[in-house]
């Protein structure tokens, strides 16, 4: 498990490499220990990651802003669009409404890690083969929902696809290809 101190060092190295001025405010803040936040251990893509944030912090913001896993996207903040979909113990959840304090040691899988699972890899390949993606912003969530669908239903019907995917909005309108690609992924070995 990585410790906060090492990561801090890594940040300072990055800043130095980019010849960024480190603003004086941050120096001050680093030495102030006025607020004690809980350390929450998250099991993300097979690694344990510590974040310091209140228990009610949605997983989305812990992943994006505290762990730098920006592949998971913010779309609505109220579980209406599915852009933030990740897996917790293999089940798709909207990470914008899942508090980090509620997850415990359950396994979190994000778009950065889904390619390591057979359904995730098949979905990614089908997505590229049928050129599903346009702007791509919603596609992390689409791929996570599709991978979860195939993990539970290897040969989904159109109704299964509707049920599993209706929570994921695509503003570019890639739905026709999403449906085709799920079927293609299901057929692939």
């Amino acid at each position: 498990m990585k410790t906060a101190r090492i990561l801090n060092g890594a940040w300072q190295k990055s800043a130095a490499e980019m010849s960024y001025e480190i603003p004086p405010l941050w120096h001050t803040l680093q030495t102030q220990q006025t607020l004690e936040l809980p350390v929450v251990n998250l099991h993300v893509n097979g690694e344990v990651k510590a974040v310091e944030a209140a228990n009610d912090t949605p997983l989305l913001w812990a992943l994006r802003d505290l762990l730098g896993l920006t592949g998971t996207k913010f779309g609505c903040g109220i579980a209406q669009c599915g852009a933030c979909t990740v897996h917790v113990d293999g089940k798709p959840v909207r990470s914008c409404v899942v508090p980090i304090g509620s997850i415990g040691e359950r396994a979190i899988t994000t778009i950065e890690g889904i390619g390591a699972t057979p359904p995730g890899r098949k979905v990614q390949q089908a997505w590229l083969h049928l050129e599903v993606i346009q702007c791509g912003y919603c596609q992390s969530g689409q791929i996570m929902s599709a991978a979860a669908l195939l993990a539970g239903k290897p040969d989904p019907s159109d109704a299964d696809i509707d049920a599993a995917m209706a929570g994921n909005i695509c503003r570019c309108g890639t739905y026709v290809r999403i449906r085709e690609a799920i079927k293609k992924a299901a057929r692939s070995a």
């Binding site: 940040w11 490499e17 802003d65 998971t72 913010f74 997505w127 702007c135 992390s140 739905y175």
Partner: protein, 723 residues
């Protein structure tokens, strides 16, 4: 006004992440590389830089600079294909990078500034990119010919190398870099005969998609400069209102909140992460000075628009004697109305900014990069060359990112913040402070005789977006976008008059929205054509076809779509087909929608078929994808889209009340491409323009009810009216 408070000690890893735009395993470089320009070529001894778009290194790697931004339309790939085709580059050796802000080098030839919009990337850059590629190829051939001391005409380029056919000698481009660098670029290099295209016309894998399946693609919202803080904002909910008083004692107690920035029109909370900022914002007690617009309602807006539409406007086009013609034959009058719409791109508005005393750095996804830079320069008072803008992939533009308001607001906030700050709008702010597709009212009159239209008047009333956005383009009261597809109506009508009446709605800011002017005009014209076909007692396809003798490309598309859609074959009860035809954006498209209207008045769009002649096609699969997606975008608007105003504020806030079409509601879509050797047309917005009238006409066919306003009103379509 601002208050600084103690922030959470930085002990977590968030600042460890410096993301740069490279992804191992792909040929894509995005965003963080400043290309060497033509004038700087001399300094780049190790590369051959014939122009602002192409750079070739000694290893033969070809880097192409993208003047247009990628927002899903596939333009990074199609622009690369055009350059690589004429350059005869080896496709596998091509990498690309986003252009920096520079109107001179990367301005859109149709706008004169660096704009990605109006479905014109390929149309606008077609010739200049081909010449850029061909010029570089000619220089590489010349360099090889001089090396071999042979006539350049006896050499040819192919797949990243120059070959001397008679001796079989060959040199890869990388080996010619130094020699070619000493040559001057030809003024007017010969272009390839399209019959010899090897890359253009093939459905190639898009260059931007591999990193979009694994979370590696970077959008503006993913920018993570070291030390970045996270902010979110509340803008006065009433348009034009200002901040009155802010009570911030509770917000300061929220863990992770660092700073509260109060500006004239908005309040922002800066935190260690977005959740802290959001919680902090929610804990603020803000009193707004609502200003003069607090009384504005949708009713106010429509009353003003309808009154304006009763007055005659500036004449955009006239032919024959429309007034006289209207008094002959059978006359029909009708009016069509379209509502305000938000863009709602999936990536909410955002902009990351670091203001330092002598420079400003901006991370954003923008359709107008130089305007983003200018906005930051204006707010900071810095000269342009002290403002660096890193453009990113765009998570949906649709016209919203043709504005720089998100940059201007973020820079104002960042001026108060020590260090970089990422300002992310909530979805609610994104929808309630959009720059909206205008309301429009189209008043039409026509007369038909012997099955044809003999007289036609069309008055378009609505915003002039160009008058604000590109003032020189608004001339003599005519907005050329506002009358696009109306002044140049494709049907052969001997007497017509088309007018534009500018009327800016109270309070609500208006801007471009996917489909722009043609969206409104094609809906009004194609709906009215259906009404006139009925008046003339003719089939809607035959009625149109008979007036398209002078536009054979559209007539061919109409014939093809009628055949593919099974036009005229029987359908079940309350099911109907509707047709629409258009010449918008330089493409010729005919579309048939098939809908079922259930007893509750819900419209189920079952199938859409389009036939498309868009001239020479660069990447055919991308054209199909743009049509498919554009049709869905238009369907969402037709079925659900409406922004309403009460008390000077937008009533919709998020996807629960600003509804989007979902996969279970999406129809089957078939797109048929018509082969053509004509110059390329635009395609990104065409489906959006096509869907609403086709669906409206299909609803009429299914129910006999003509809807003249969007979105469709289910109550009018229900069999059993509810109380």
């Amino acid at each position: 006004m601002q208050s600084n408070i103690e922030c959470t000690p930085m002990t977590t890893s968030r600042r460890a992440f410096l993301k740069v735009g490279t992804a191992a395993g792909t040929a894509l470089l995005l965003g963080f590389h400043i290309p060497v320009t033509g004038s700087a070529a001399a300094q780049a001894r190790s590369s051959f830089v014939p122009n602002a778009f192409i750079r070739i290194d000694r290893q033969g790697a070809v880097t192409l600079t993208m003047p247009q931004v990628e927002m899903g339309q596939g333009v990074y790939t199609s622009v690369s294909m055009i350059l690589a085709e004429e350059l005869d580059a080896k496709w596998e050796q091509v990498a690309l990078e986003a252009a920096p802000p520079n109107d001179k080098l990367y301005g859109n030839p149709l706008f004169g500034i660096q704009v990605t919009g109006n479905s014109n990337s390929i149309r606008a850059f077609w010739t200049s990119l081909r010449k850029a590629g061909a010029g570089a190829r000619a220089m590489l051939i010349e360099a090889a010919a001089r090396r071999w001391k042979v006539d350049a005409n006896t050499c040819h380029a192919d797949n990243g190398a120059v070959t001397h056919a008679t001796t079989g000698r060959s040199l890869a481009y990388g080996a010619l870099v130094e020699d070619a660098s000493h040559l001057s670029a030809p003024q007017d290099p010969p272009l390839k005969d399209p019959a010899h295209f090897k890359i253009i016309g093939k459905s190639l894998q898009r260059l931007d998609t591999p990193e979009k399946v694994n979370g590696q693609a970077l959008y503006g919202i993913d920018a993570m400069p070291p030390g970045v803080k996270f902010a979110t904002l509340a803008i006065c909910p009433v348009f034009g209102g200002t901040v009155g008083h802010v009570e911030d004692s509770k917000a300061k107690q929220v863990p992770g909140v660092c700073q509260i920035v109060v500006l004239d029109d908005l309040v922002a909370v800066v935190g260690d992460h977005m959740w802290a900022a959001k919680q902090g914002l929610a804990a603020l007690d803000i009193t707004w000075d609502e200003g003069p617009n607090a009384h504005v309602t949708s009713d106010t807006v429509w009353r003003q628009l309808r009154a304006a539409s009763a007055k005659s406007g500036a004449v955009a086009r006239t032919a024959g004697d429309a007034a006289k013609a209207l008094s002959s034959g059978e006359r029909l009058d009708s009016a069509y109305e379209l509502p305000f719409l938000a863009h709602a791109p999936m990536e909410p508005l955002n902009c990351t900014v670091h203001v330092k005393p002598d420079m400003c750095e901006v991370w954003v996804g923008s359709q107008v990069l130089t305007r983003a830079q200018a906005a930051a320069a204006q707010v900071t008072g810095l000269p342009l060359d002290k403002v660096t803008v890193h453009n990113h992939l765009i998570g949906g533009g649709f016209g919203r990112r043709l504005e720089a308001d998100m940059v201007e607001k973020a820079v104002r906030i960042a001026k108060a913040v020590d260090g970089p700050v990422k300002v992310v709008w909530s979805r609610e702010e994104d929808i309630q402070h959009d720059i909206y597709r205008p309301v429009y009212r189209d008043v039409l009159a026509a007369s038909v005789a012997d099955g044809r239209i003999v007289g036609w008047t069309h008055r378009i009333t609505g915003s002039s977006i160009l008058a604000r956005w590109l003032p020189p383009a608004f001339k003599n009261g005519i907005d050329i976008d506002g009358v696009d597809s109306a002044a140049d109506i494709p049907y052969d009508i001997p007497n017509l008059r088309v007018e534009f009446q500018r009327d800016e709605p109270p309070a609500v800011p208006t801007g471009f929205w996917r489909g722009v002017g043609p969206n409104n005009n094609v809906f009004a014209i194609e709906s009215f054509l259906d009404e006139l076909a009925k008046k003339a007692g003719k089939d809607p396809v035959a009625f149109r076809r008979d007036m398209l003798g002078k536009v054979p490309r559209l007539r061919a598309a109409l014939d093809l779509v009628a055949s593919k859609a099974g036009w005229g074959t029987p359908l079940p009860a309350r099911t109907g087909r509707g047709v629409a035809a258009q010449t918008a954006f330089g493409s010729f498209i005919a579309t048939v929608a098939e809908v079922k209207v259930d007893e509750n008045g819900d419209v189920h769009v079952q199938r859409i078929v389009s036939a498309v002649d868009t001239g020479i096609v660069v990447n055919p699969d991308t054209v199909l994808a743009q049509l498919q997606g554009g049709l869905i975008f238009g369907l969402t608007a037709a079925l659900f889209g409406e922004i309403t105003i009460d008390k000077g504020r937008v009533q919709q806030s998020n996807f629960q009340n600003y509804r989007m079409l979902r996969i279970n509601e999406a129809p089957k879509i078939e797109v048929h491409l018509i082969a053509s050797g004509e110059a390329p047309g635009g395609i990104g917005e065409t489906g959006t323009t096509a869907a609403p009238p086709a669906v409206g006409n299909a609803i009429y066919a299914a129910t006999g009810i003509r809807l003249r306003r969007l979105p469709i009103d289910r109550a009018l379509l229900a069999v059993r009216k509810t109380a």
